[in-house]
């Protein structure tokens, strides 16, 4: 009896001494369960701002916390809370559902559920901005044009977002041709660029297959490295938050394995084109693009900027960036995000 009493008093003392959470530096995991998927949302940063930047990661096959390793995330977390969400079938998400349920429509509904949960947990007065990169741009674009969902957000930030895959492929080929000629003229990596030019000239832009799309994506990453080695694209600075492979929240092998399966299951996205529906968007928008992004050419950013009906919109092209300006020019990227969010929050 005496022992039990001591345990009870010890526990009471321990829990009564537990400090209230410091809202300027939160670090917690919440799960959102939706349509048979359990998806972690890793909350980090400054919640006292009452602003949440919802990171909608790339891939499919990426994970939210990948974006925390970039230096831009330190800057964002100093100002706002950042929600690193692992989408259905990505990262550390899990759940029992069928392959047929791995659809962009379900993922859009997942995003809706995540935002509703963030508001339920942190208060309806929190302002949520979605920052979608690459595939995350596809998903956020679909969200924006879906049944009034956009009004849950205070703003949409699209960074190199693939909201029109057929156009993306055609424009990438045009860009390969143009930049190859430019780089050959400058004497940079001449043999490599000649090879790219020959290949791009042979692609029939009126008939780009799924296989061609895969090759375009692969070569896009390849040429970015040449441009980086020639100093055209800035070399990423080291720093940012470290995600330990062995001790961190994300198991990279789980993320890789499940992400690959999800990527295969979502091949239907090759035909997804939303440019003509972006006029439905009316909330404040910020489009951020790397000038040398061959994965998702900046022409898509220009289109999105022109198409949306928002009165508050801005397009920024980063002159020394490829597909990930948040890594290549992180300071300018973070600056633009902070300026935008502070102006409309």
């Amino acid at each position: 009896m005496r022992t039990l009493l001591l345990i009870y008093l010890g526990s009471a003392l321990f829990f009564s001494c537990k400090k209230d959470q410091d809202l300027s530096s939160i670090s917690e995991t919440i799960y959102v369960r939706n349509k048979s998927a359990d998806m972690p949302v890793y909350m980090r940063g400054n919640m006292s701002s009452k602003v949440i930047i919802l990171i909608v990661h790339g891939g499919p096959g990426g994970n939210g916390l990948e974006y925390r390793t970039g230096r831009f995330s330190e800057e964002l977390e100093a100002h706002y809370a950042v929600a690193y969400w692992d989408q259905r079938g990505n990262g550390m998400s899990h759940g029992k559902f069928k392959k047929s349920e791995m659809t962009i429509d379900n993922m859009v509904h997942d995003m809706y559920a995540v935002i509703k949960v963030l508001k339920a947990k942190y208060g309806n007065d929190v302002r949520v901005f979605a920052l979608g990169h690459s595939w995350g741009g596809t998903l956020t674009a679909k969200f924006m044009i879906s049944s009034g969902y956009q009004y849950l957000l205070t703003g949409w930030i699209e960074a190199d977002g693939a909201h029109d895959i057929p156009k993306l492929n055609v424009d990438a080929i045009k860009m390969f041709r143009a930049v190859a000629q430019e780089q050959i003229a400058l004497g940079n990596n001449v043999d490599n660029w000649n090879g790219i030019l020959s290949w791009a000239n042979e692609v029939d832009t009126n008939n780009i297959s799924v296989e061609d799309g895969g090759e375009i994506n692969q070569k896009a990453h390849e040429v970015e490295e040449w441009l980086r080695s020639d100093g055209v694209i800035t070399t990423e600075e080291s720093g940012g938050h470290k995600n330990s492979i062995f001790f961190g929240p994300t198991n990279p092998f789980t993320s890789w394995m499940i992400g690959n399966q999800t990527n295969s299951a979502l091949q239907v996205t090759e035909t997804l084109a939303m440019t003509n529906e972006l006029h439905l968007v009316s909330i404040p928008c910020l489009f951020l693009w790397g000038k040398y992004d061959f994965v998702v050419p900046p022409s898509l950013g220009v289109d999105a900027f022109n198409e949306v009906n928002s009165t508050n919109k801005k397009l920024v092209i980063f002159d020394h960036s490829g597909h990930s300006p948040m890594a290549d020019e992180w300071e300018k990227f973070a600056y633009e995000v902070v300026q935008f969010v502070d102006a409309v929050k």
Binding site: E28, D38, M92, K96, K98, K116, F247, N251, I258
Partner: protein, 210 residues
């Protein structure tokens, strides 16, 4: 020469000493590192099912190889920091081979079921489409058959419990995990004792091959 029944009482007794050092069920406890470093613990019992011994005549001496088929129910618990904790209930059948110096290797396969308990709060939409906190422990379970390979060393001590140390690599296949199959690896390092107490084990059948 083919398999045959036990042919010498002293051989059988010597072999039994290796294959079943005590008449009680061995118990093992081990570090269970999912992805090596996500820490956990595993408890298991080995039910020896069947043993056989092979004598190989060498130039100077006769080499003795003992093999044991065992059944191993187990429970393992581990934590992936800030993401989830896992509970695995499994039942394996394995083959363990001891050499003369009582070093052993083993291979096993089995069925299992793994629960993943979400870290932190789990929320879902209520009927009105608003966020609603779930107040119960949230988990999902997956059928998780597995394979494992290990090695170790057995010490048999006079008038004391036999003891083994071992290490194992396990892989589990989580079915219907996010519409796919997830293969998970884990490393086990542990100790097994053959106690002189606890669950009584049936004496195993052995066969000797010469």
């Amino acid at each position: 020469m083919g398999w045959g029944p036990s042919i010498a009482a002293q051989d059988t007794l010597a072999n039994l000493k290796v294959l079943q050092p005590s008449s009680y069920v061995p118990i093992s406890v081990s570090y269970y590192g999912n992805m090596i470093t996500h820490p956990g613990v595993k408890l298991a019992v080995d039910y020896p099912a069947f043993g056989f011994t092979k004598f190989k005549a060498k130039r100077r001496k006769t080499k003795e190889i003992n093999k044991l088929i065992y059944l191993q129910p187990s429970v393992a618990y581990f934590v992936q920091p800030q993401t989830f904790s896992g509970l695995l209930l499994a039942a394996d059948v394995g083959l363990r081979r001891y050499n003369t110096k009582l070093y052993f290797t083993d291979a096993a396969m089995g069925i299992g079921y793994m629960w993943r308990f979400n870290h932190g709060e789990t929320w879902q939409l209520d009927d009105n489409g608003d966020g609603h906190k779930k107040n119960i422990v949230s988990s999902k379970g997956y059928f998780a058959p597995g394979l494992s390979f290990g090695f170790g060393k057995l010490w048999i001590r006079e008038n004391k419990n036999a003891i083994s140390v071992f290490s194992r690599i396990n892989s589990n296949f989580l079915f219907e995990y996010s519409a796919g199959i997830l293969i998970e690896g884990s490393l086990e390092i542990g100790v097994k004792i053959n106690p002189s107490f606890g669950l009584k084990a049936e004496p195993i059948q052995t066969k000797v091959k010469r």
